[in-house]
Every structure is written in C-alpha cells, then in structure tokens.
Symmetry: D2
Subunit: 337 residues, 4 copies
C-alpha cells in the first residue's frame, strides 16, 4: 500500500501515523521528494482499512498495490480449485454444462426439460424456485413447491441441481440442492454470504450488475472467510449504457479471473444478452475464452415460459450448441498440450 | 403498452394473442402498415408481464407507455406523501436534515455528535450499527450494541433515529428506530422489502448503485404493495466510469422523481462524493434542486472514524452548512409563492 | 414510429400534426384508449426528425419501431458486404487478420514487424502514423514520415495497409493506404465521415468509447450516404466502470451487428483490454463469436514501443495465436455447413 | 509517479530503468519489501509516458501521484482565470448567462430570441450554425448562412456570440464569433484543439460524453500548450445507464474542477437533461454548486424548433429563471464574504 502525503505534513502527525503503521506489523519506507512525500507500506495490508488512513489530515491519497482478497487469490493458492458436485466436477480443465428453465413451472415441464438437457449433454440442472423480479406484480416463482419439483427432476435424471437462494430463511428448504446460487442483486448481501460460508454446499456467486472484479472476489472472500472454500464465480453480464442487449457480457472476466483467482468461472450467456438468438455465439465465445462452465436457459416451450422466455433456447438448439461447445473445448485443450 | 409484431405474423397465433389480451381486460387496437403491424393495448397494463409477450414467436418488441408502478405513481396520487417521524415531517415543502456519523462507535462519540448536530439544526440522527462493508476484514459495525447506543443518543437529545437494516433478522432489534434505511446494495433484496412493507415504520430506500429511476420506484412499490405507504427515496450517487468521486451524484433524480412520484426525496451527498470538501456544495445544490431533505455524515473526529472518515464533515462545518441550506430553501420557497 | 400523446390533446393541434405527418407520405393509425391516444406511423420514417415531433405540446413520447439507418441495414441489403483490399477480402465468411505495431517508429521496426506478421499469416498490415494521444506531451506519431515508412513496408511485403486518419487534411497523404481507419474518438466527427464517404477507399470505423450500436451504424450511414459503401466496423471495447481492463470488450457486438447490418465486423482485442496477456483468449473468443476479422497489435520489442507497449504481443505469440484462430474459424465454418 | 515492480526483477533491467529515469531528471526512491519493490519518482513527471514504463517486463503497475496537466492545474496557477468577452467576463466570481436557440433558423427567430434573452439578463448569445447530428438525414444547421445571421443578431443586440466549430475549415468563417465552442463529440479531436490553441479567441470545451475529469483537462491542456490560455470548461452531462434523461448532469464536476483547475466552469443543463421542465431546477442547482456560468437553450417557439426542441425553454420561463439564478448567486456570494 502506498500513502501519498499532502505537502508539508505536520511532523507530529506524520510520526504518529508511521508509528501506528509499524504497530500493525508493517515496514514503512519513506520517499521524500521536492514537493511531496510517499510512504511505501510493506507487509500484509489486506486487513488494513484504507479509509481510516485516507481520512487523516496529512494524507492526500492511498493506493493499493496488493489485492485485498487472500483466500480467493491465486497468488497464495496457485492450483485451480475443483468443486465436486455429484458425479461431476467444476474447474480444473473440464467444461461443465448447466442448463434448464429460468423458472420451475410444473412437474411436466421441469422433468421434460431435465431429460432433454441431460440427453444433450448437460451435467447440472438449473431451475429457479425463488425468483427475484423487478416488479412485485410479476410471477415470483413457485417457492418451496418449486424446490420439490426440482428434487423430483433430480431423482428422475440423476442430475445435480443448482438454484437461487434469495434469503437465508430459504436455506433449510435446500437440503437436496447441490449448488446454491447467489443472484446478481444479492452479490453484496453480506449477511447471506456469511451464512452460506458457514455451511458446506458449493456456492455460485453471480456478478453484481455493476460489480468490479475486486468487489466480486471480495464477495467470494466473505464466503471463504467463514470456512466454505467451494465457491464458483458466474459472469452474467454487466450494466452499461447499451440497451440493445439486456446486459453487456464481459467476456474479459474469464481470462482476468483465471489470472486473479483459483476459483472456477462459469458464464451465463442467457441473462447476459436476454435474446435467444445471441445465446449460441456468446456461449461458444465463452468456451473459447476459457470458461470452466456455462449455465444456459433451456425451455421446451419458451413462448409460454413464465419468466425470461425471450432468452431461453429450445432443447434442440441446446443439443447442437453442446456439440459445438464440447468440440471447441476439446480442440483448445488439445492445442494447449 | 405497444406490441410490435414481426413481418407477416401467423394469423392464428395473432388471433390467439389478441384474444388472450382481451381476456386480461385490455382493449387492443391494431395498426397495420406496409411492413409491420402494431398492437396498441389500452387499460391497466401494470400487472401484465412484458416478458411473456416478448417471448412470442410473432412478436418483435414490446414497449411500455404506462409506468409499471401504481402506488408510487404521482399520476394516481397527485398529493405529496408526508412521512411523520416524531415531531418532524419529511416531504410537503419542508427541508429535513438528517445527520450523524457513518458508524456508531461508542457512547461518547454518538451522544456528542447527536448533541452537536441537533444544536446545528438537524432534526433526525443518523448512525450505522450494521455496516455493509466490501471486505469481510473491515469493521462491520457494533450491531445490537450500536442500536442500544443510538437509543441512548435519542433519549439524550430527543432526535428520532434512522439506521440501516441489512437483514430481516435485525428487525426485532429496531423497535426504537424511527426510520429504517435500506442500503443501496439491498435495494433489490425483495424479501427484505416485503417484510418492511408488512410493518409500519417509515422505510428509506437508497438508490441501488446502478438502479434506474424505474427500478428504484419498483422497489418502493414492493414495500407499498404490502401495505406500508411511508416510503422515502434517497439518492446517494450512481456508479459511472468517473472514479475521482466515489459515486456520481445524479442531481436530476430530484426533479425527475418529483414529477414521477409523490414520495419524499432525500439526498445523501456524503456517500455520493466520498470527499468531505465536496459535501457542502453538493448539499446546497440538492436543496436548490428541490430536495425534501438531506442525510449528511458528521463526525466529531473524522480522522479517527472507524468507517467513511474521508467523507464526514465536522460539526462546525455542518453548522455553517445548515444555515446556508435553510436560507436557500426558504428563499426558493418564497420565490415559488 | 409511435407517437404517444398527452392526455386530452388539443384537437386542432392534433389535426395539424396528423396532416403534417400525412404530408410526409406516412399513414397515420390512431389508437384511442381510456386515458391516452397513440399514433402509429407507417411508411419510411428514417428521414423523420423525432425531436421535432417530441417537442410538440401535445406529445408525451416518441418511440421508433424502425431502425434509423437504411444503407447499413441488413433488412434492405440481406447479402454480406465484401470489402476487397489488394488480394484479400473482408467479410463473406473469411477471417482477415490485420496486425502490426501501434505506432510506426522507424524503418527497421515496421519492416521487421511487417515481415513477421506476414509470415505468421496476417494479410493486412496495421500501423499508426498519426496518433491520438490523451496528453499533448505524449508521442504524437511520425505523421507523413510514418506513412512513408508504412508504404515501404507494403512494398517489401506486399501487404495492404490500414492506418488511422485524424483530420481530413491528412487524406491527400494517404494515396497508398488501403484502408482508412476512423478512430474511436472521431466516430462522430461527422465532417470527416462525409469526406471519407465522398472518396472510394474502404473505411474502417472504430466504435466510439460510449457509442451505442445504433450511433455506430449511423456513423457508417454518414459514409454510405455520400456514396462509399466500403465500410468495415471495428469493435474495440467500450468504457464501463470496470478499470482493470483498459476498456470492456463487448463481444455481443459481433452477433448483434451480424443481424443488424451486412457490413463486415472486425474486433480489436488489443485496445479492448490493454494487456498483452489477455489478447489471445479474447481474440479466440472473437473468432468463435463469428467476427470477420481481427486487428491485433504486434511489436517485435514491446518494451520499447513508443505507444501502447503493454498491449502489444510479440511475433512468436502472434504466430501461435494465428494457428489457433484459423483452426477455430475453419472448424466453426465446417460445423455450419 | 510510483512504479510497482514484479517480484524478483532482473537486476540489470532494474538498473537500466533507474538510470533511464535519472536521465530524465527524476529522483528515484527505492522501497524494497518482502515480496515487492516500489520506485517512487520525484520531479516533473507530467511529460513522462506512463505506457512506456508500464510496458517493461519487470514492471507490474504504474500509478500517477501528480496530475498530468500543468497549465490547467490550479496548483501551479492558484488564481482564477478570467476570460474577457466584449463587455462581459467569465470566471472570477461572476455569473455569466449564455442563452439562445440550439440552431439558428432564420433572421426573425435569432434576432427575436437574442432580444428576449438580452432583456431577461443574458450577456452572451448562443446559437448553432454547424450542428453535429447523429443522423445524416437530420437538419445539419445553416452553416455559413447561420453564422451571418448570428452576426446580425450580435449587431442588433450587442451580445457577444458563442457557437460550435465542427472542423478547422470553419475557422475562417468565425471572425466575428466571440467564443468558439468545441462540442462533446470533438473533445478529443486533437487536431482541432491544436488549431484552436494557435489562435486567440476564447475556446469553450464541452465535456465528452464519457470523458473523465482528467481527460477533459488534458483537452484544455492541448489548447493551452499551443499558447491560448482562454479556455472555458462546460459540463453538459455524461452518458450513464439511465435513459430517462438524455444524459446525466454531473453536478460534482463544478466543485471538483474548482479545486483541480483555475479555468472557469459553465454548466449546460439543457443538453444534460434533454427536457425543458428539468432545466430550471438543474440550472439553479448548478448556480448553488458554484458554477461560473450557464448556457441554456431558449427558443421563442420550441415546438417548431428545427433541433432539440424538447429541451428548449421559452423566453418567459428563462426570464423568471434568471431572476432566481441571480438572486441565489448573490445570496451565496454574500454568505461567503
């Protein structure tokens, strides 16, 4: 961490700051220039509150050199984290395909879609029981009934399930869920993250609508700091000024996170673009960029889907897409050898 | 609502859509052009799920004409909502000044600041007991103890208190809180909003970091739809590409919301800019733009504040600022007469 | 185009508006509801000034149904535009690789890089002679001398060249340039676009830093309206709140533009991310998403590049990347058959 | 400037870097930590190319401490710049009101508006002759004829005129123009900025649609580096995800620029919001925030304006607004004494 001091800092305040920093176990290197002095802090600054220092009268600016996340940081954990779910694994060079409807609607629908995506090659079933909707007047999901139907589909197909939690009170209902998803709107619901960190099911954290990579990794850190290391990150598009697509898929997140963290990275092209016709090219691009997995909305009857119909693809489109994605993943893996 | 159809829509699907819409109690006006057909829907479309319609094969696009919020909409409730808190009121032409430290730290601090801001003219005391922090390693607030200290300061000064709730589990602790604040990161925590709608304390909803006006009003609608009409909106800056300020204060939110809604509008210049020196000019600008109130971070010792020190102003700065704000508010109110 | 009227519009003003619209050759369909009236305009509205209508007292809002661009619109020109440059072509299912240094620095450098990228498989040489730099104190490019060196490299290798124009006054110097590039900062320099539309060299328009797809296509329309149909679009990342990467590559631009326009789409991963290590995964993703070409910064000595060194890759990295890109392009083309 | 080195930098490369920096007249302070080394550079780094250093193999990151602009920097020029135009001045504690139509349309219109805004209290007449329009099919301004009409209005009223230049070729036509405006889309048209820096008419630079404060000040620096110190900055709203307003007025720009630069700061509420009803509250807020001036679109017949009608206010609205703005400006100036 670098502390840039204002011109002519009060010598007593300066001494007091330096002593306080040393008291935190840090080495302090002073660099005195013609018009300005800089302090270089050496040691573990991840638990140092930048705001505290920036508030001092004699301080002009504070800049981080080290990342503020430790457990999620690849520097300290060079090997890929591999999250195991049922017979499948996420991370470590494999390509995991999660698919299913946005919302669980009824038994027939969820079982039919589950069978279809399994046949096409998906190894995890997605489906929403609790749905965050902008309007209180929109369909809010089937809730506990939806979870029961997901369990049914799991029994029928053997596919592990991933579903969204909106509130800690829903956790006891999720005993048979395999991966708990934290939605974009809850990425910084810190109480929820702590509770999910204190249990051991894998947690997939979607990127907040305007979250930076660092904030996103800090949300992973919240879960990991409580003990649960099974965290998956899911890029689902960010909000920009462009409104043609629902969000803007930030494809760079894949190689950037690969460098910054050891956690697996999944891409959700469906929510990123909001249009079924764009899902296949974006999914293929995500595989090419190196994603560990994809989560894709598939519906057997998108026109009558109770939510997010426009971005769901049909099973037959998914089937063709899986072939393409798998082939490209294999092809790239081979070239890397 | 306007439904733009694709070219040469299938006649049966079209008939089925029109009948379905009519079944919802809507009038459907068809407008057939050279290359494209448009349906104009007349009636209450606020409870119609746009996504459902947009998903249809024959539909190219759906555009709203009417706002999707009803209870928060000024069109249906032309008179200003006035929220009463203790001896003070928010909305309806008054200027409410809320002030206090970002975090409650100890009894001495909160009581001293409470007395100082009261003496300067504040009528509501702010203070955080539960603090949403990006890092799990930063100070997380005093929690229940902090609430107890806030209550103490309320007893000492008579000032009603506003504090942030981060999770529904904290609600029972907030019996003596006067206004419950929903933070920017929880603006779309819909479960929390519903619970706050089912109780009757006033709720102040901060704008999400990248929330549109409409999404923000829909969050108010969540609370109001459950029965609680005492909602206050708080603009606290939005995230943009500019990083010099912590966020970008969207001053237009004040006159825009004035037009769209009858709910009171409060501005938080402290979080918007993140720098103490910018707070006074932005606060004065917010008053000039017509805000119903301000919420300002004041700390008797910003350099040793445990959070957000850099954006807190000292009591003596606040005192001068209150004089300026009050004078400008009176001046503008007089001119309007 | 849809015109939403205010409640109870003045009947005379309404009649006058309807007559004016009919005078423009449009059919006007009225849709009268309980609280609001809507006019549906049918015909060619691309030359209608929305602002004029929106300014009317009786008008609440105006919404476009049709795109405002015609010549760039795939609806009216279903076949891909193929731009021919030297022996190579851009668009129509091929993959064009443009590569070279950010800035031309000296003869040795540009000739060496040109030979290297040609050997690796590039078919167009890029290189900047006029450089738009944020600071007046940074290196501004070699100007006319740089163009001369580019011509030399073209003679040596036979590669056609693409270079940026910053001002119409530079056009006479560009006789031997094969593709004229309009930079992101000049995307809405309408005078320059008109001048480039009145000559016949191919023009590659980079997307403005915060340009929408529509604005970008309208800039293409400016060139095409003057007669030059040889326009190439280049996605180079947009500005968002995320600062880890220089810009945010909007990979969705590729499939979106493919649908909206018949013009070829090139991706510049180098400027999009600003970091050499991210260039290969993003380049491969762009190919997988369906780009017609890539423009990549390659430098034989990135550490001593006079501009944009951090985002330039070395020739040997480029060579490996070309193999990967070409293989994926062929693979996808085969699957499509 | 701070250079953060990668772990275990090559000693020879490090020595070579340090020598090169010293050769640029900088002092180099080394700060060696447990895992990382930092170089603190002391001296004038404004002319140092950050990119060059960041490209080095041994460098992880480069961070600026000093601002890259010098001539526009208040640190080196503590006194406010006052730009004199005719009998009026901009900056230094006064409030300058510029008003007029978006586009000059005909003699009657421009003279009538000029008289009206003068009578209301404006001291500068605005009016566009060359209009940057997104669509090539929209009205592009009257060009040279428009300038002639502006001159006529100037003769009739004595008001100095401000108008936009879109291309250097228009400069010879602007002999009688008093302030030359550079539009948002041309903020980084560096060739145009250099040409305007080499003449001596005051230049008003509008902020680019997604320009940072620093980029904006660097554009001012381009003009000033060529010799012309009469630069005015104009905030006109930035592009964000919010689409209700045309742009998002960044009111913080006023106090931020006041601190960073000595140049006068003008606010354009008309383009910022795009809606006439929002202009008065935003204009008043800008005055309260400390702006040196405002530029406001006024039209005697907004409904028939040929461009930007929806955001133009009528002369009678402007007249009332001037009274309010002037009173608030005087009131604040008095309080500051």
């Amino acid at each position: 961490m670098i502390v840039v001091l204002k011109e002519n800092p009060n010598p007593e305040q300066l001494e007091s700051l330096i002593n306080w920093l040393k008291g935190k176990g840090l080495e302090v290197h002073e660099s005195l220039g013609t018009s300005r002095m800089i302090l270089g802090l050496v040691g573990d600054t991840s638990k140092l509150d930048m705001d505290l220092i920036a508030a001092l009268d004699i301080v002009e600016d504070v800049k981080r050199v080290q990342e503020p996340y430790k457990k999620a940081n690849r520097k300290f954990h060079p090997n890929d984290t591999i999250v195991k779910v049922g017979d499948t694994q996420i991370g470590g060079g494999t390509l995991t395909l999660m698919a299913g409807p946005c919302s669980v609607e009824n038994e027939e629908q969820i079982v039919a879609v589950a069978k279809a995506v399994k046949a096409a090659g998906a190894t995890v079933l997605r489906g929403g029981a609790f749905k965050p909707r902008t309007s209180p007047y929109s369909f809010q999901g089937l809730g506990a009934d939806g979870l029961r139907l997901l369990e049914l589909a799991k029994e029928e197909t053997g596919l592990p399930i991933v579903t969204e939690i909106m509130d800690a009170s829903q956790l006891p209902l999720m005993k048979n869920v395999d991966i708990i998803q934290v939605g974009a709107r809850n990425m910084q619901n810190f109480n929820l993250l702590k509770i999910l960190g204190a249990q051991d099911k894998p947690v997939m954290i979607k990127r907040g609508m305007c979250a930076t990579y660092e904030e996103w990794l800090m949300s992973a850190e919240y879960v990991m700091a409580e003990g649960n290391q099974n965290v998956i990150l899911c890029e689902r598009g960010i909000r920009t000024y462009e409104t043609y697509t629902r969000n803007t898929l930030d494809i760079s997140a894949v190689p950037v996170l690969r460098k910054l963290t050891h956690l697996p990275i999944v891409v959700d092209p469906s929510h990123a673009c909001g249009k079924a016709s764009l899902v296949p090219p974006l999914a293929v691009a995500a595989v090419a960029a190196g994603a560990d997995g994809l989560i894709i909305e598939v519906h057997n009857d998108p026109e009558h889907a109770l939510s997010d119909g426009p971005q769901s693809i049909r099973p037959e489109v998914f089937e063709k897409l899986v072939k393409k994605m798998t082939a490209i993943h294999d092809f790239i893996s081979d070239m890397e050898d």
